[in-house]
Amino acid sequence: MSSTVEVEPGAAPESVLVTADSCENFEHMNSSLEEIKNLIEIKQAAEESTIETVVSENLEETGNFSECDDDEDDYVQNSEWTSRKKQVFVLSMAGKPIYSRYGNEDKLAWLFGVMQTLVSFVQSTNDDCIKSIHAGDTTFVFLVKKPLILVTVSKTHESENQLISQLNYVFNQITSTLTLTRLNKIYEQRQNYDLRRQLTGAERLIDHLLDFTEKEPSFLLGAVQCLPLASSVRNTISSAITGACNKIKNLVFAILLANNKLITLVRMKKYCLHPADLHLIFNLVQASESLKNSENWTPLCLPRFDSSGFLYCHVSYLSEDCQACLLLLTVERDVFYVLSQAKQAIVEKLRRTNCLEAINNSLTTNEETCLTAGFTELRHYLYKCKSTAQFYQPSLAPPYTLEKERLLELYKRAHQHLHCSSRPLKLVFEKSSKEVVLAWDTKGFELYVVFEPLIDTTGAINLVGKLLNWIKNREDKLFHLNAPTF
């Protein structure tokens, strides 16, 4: 298969995002925070210690969650949790319940016991690690990430790797609220600790994250989608942010997003943001209605950036008349007012340069469907540029407007073909009575296309070539090609 495009669409000399494979194991962690802090020699030691003492104080109070033993027997069969397509559980190494996607963890305590036993049995008998159990159409996947155990029970057709990736996201979400260092410390001090005390309110974020990973192709691709904007507008926005922020010390990232799409990301030289971290930020913003009403200041750990500590984050929406969310992330905990002023300056600049209007216009215009773009035999596609970890998809068109889930399942299946660890394919062409799916993995990009069912291979290949050209011609608008720094 050849196309006339020389450089893949969306490629850029420098990327704002760390590029990575979505299925890659998340174990590798950076220690960027330490680096930034050392670089500028802030006396943070004192502050760190205050946090630690509070943690240990909290640990001394005992958890007083009531154990509900009453109708435990009935609960075994309760359809509130048994009827679901996919369950997700989180427990401690000691078997204490931490999170259950559906149902009440306390009433399911016995089940958590079983899961813990399975893990520890395999561990103790041959010093091995349980990965998965397959029983009929149900897959049980275990992810042991000390000090936690994550389990999913799935009747969906997702691959083991995809399920593990989802569990990794859940682990990262927990790390993001507590930091890995603190998580480890908690369990070092008390193996029996009830982590739910620390996670109150964060279950909501995990719930939302799980739904999110099941609805959005961005998680599957390990990439983010950008809000389409003329490159001049995007550059003006970026320079408004750098202009207002370049004198502020220790600001690491400035992120502007709207409607689950990235508008721009300005970063400190040397540091990049991992798409997985950006996904957690998208999740936080989407799940928290309350951020809309005010300026907010919150600690946030980005596990792929640095799992050992918090960044402090100024979160606010640009204005009443422009619902884009601006996040300013710094390593300093006392600079709220400085960032608040910077935000005001950014908004004023954006208003003067008509960028707010441009953002609003882009938000209200529906993106093109394949049909309106002139591709009659094409129904939908995902295009991911690997070197920048960004992707593009057109608007949904019938029949998938009503079958969004099935469309994503098609993509998941095709993705699995390309990324299956034992026998990865480069090109997949799959015909069924309902549609034709083509998936193509090259050095520079991944492309997943869904065609009308009657198309033949030659037709499909011709169309793919045309499509790549179409995207190439619009890459300025569809992708964030610059990697601005402060």
Binding site: T50, T200, C245, S290, W297, Q341
Partner: protein, 224 residues
């Protein structure tokens, strides 16, 4: 014309309605499905008491335990604290006491304290009596109010009381962290925003609104 600018921190157990109380006052709105506050939110509002404008910078803290370590950042240098509990929840009332103890241990400057029992629309489920609340508030020198952010009852009084407290404090000269400006605050703010946007990151600009203006020295002729 003098202006008083005070920092107000709102503390309390999770789910007692801190955010709801503030948004009821600041925006006069109420949401039934408010999501828990993440970290802390910042609001400002202005009240005029005895024809003196009082600007309150309100820090709405998250009630969840993991954010407890952050609280000092918000109550440090605060001039007033609103301690909110839920009248249908004894535990939330008890946690007020731990907050007060913490404030007493860590804040040296005088503070306007105000205990607020929220959710009086759920009167039939009341667990903490008015007498109990009043008695405790008196013992710590705080004023006591009951309100319902949902039904918009008694919320305004809380903030007016805080404003009045701040005004008294500004006259008493007893506090070093409270800011009193001789000029109208809007003039000061206007100056800082007139600067070119690209200069705003500059530290000098930041300090305009905070330190470079004399404060605490103005004596008003009249006092309540």
């Amino acid at each position: 014309m003098k202006t008083v600018v005070g920092k107000v921190v709102v503390l309390g157990h999770l789910g007692v309605g801190k955010t709801s109380t503030i948004t009821r006052y600041v925006e006069n709105s109420f949401s039934h499905q408010v999501t828990p506050t993440i970290g802390a939110s910042f609001f400002t509002c202005k009240i005029t008491v005895q024809s003196i404008p009082i600007k309150m910078q309100i820090w709405d803290t998250a009630g969840q335990e993991r954010f407890k370590a952050l609280a000092p950042m918000f109550y440090r240098n605060a001039n007033a604290a609103i301690l909110v509990f839920d009248i249908t929840n004894q535990q939330s009332f008890d946690s007020i006491k731990t907050w007060v103890d913490e404030l007493k241990r860590n804040v040296e400057e005088a503070m306007v304290l105000c205990v607020v029992g929220n959710k009086i629309d759920l009167m039939h489920e009341r667990k903490v009596s008015k007498e109990e609340g009043l008695k405790y508030s008196n013992s710590i020198g705080a004023s006591y109010f009951e309100c319902s952010a949902k039904d918009d009852q008694g919320v305004g009084v809380v903030f007016e009381n805080i404003a009045l407290g701040l005004l008294r404090m500004s006259v008493g000269k007893s506090n070093n962290t409270l800011k009193v400006y001789d000029d109208d605050i809007n003039d000061i703010m206007a100056k800082s925003s007139e600067l070119d946007a690209t200069d705003v990151g500059n530290e000098e600009v930041v300090s305009i609104s905070i330190k470079s203006i004399a404060h605490g020295d103005t004596v008003s002729s009249k006092c309540c």
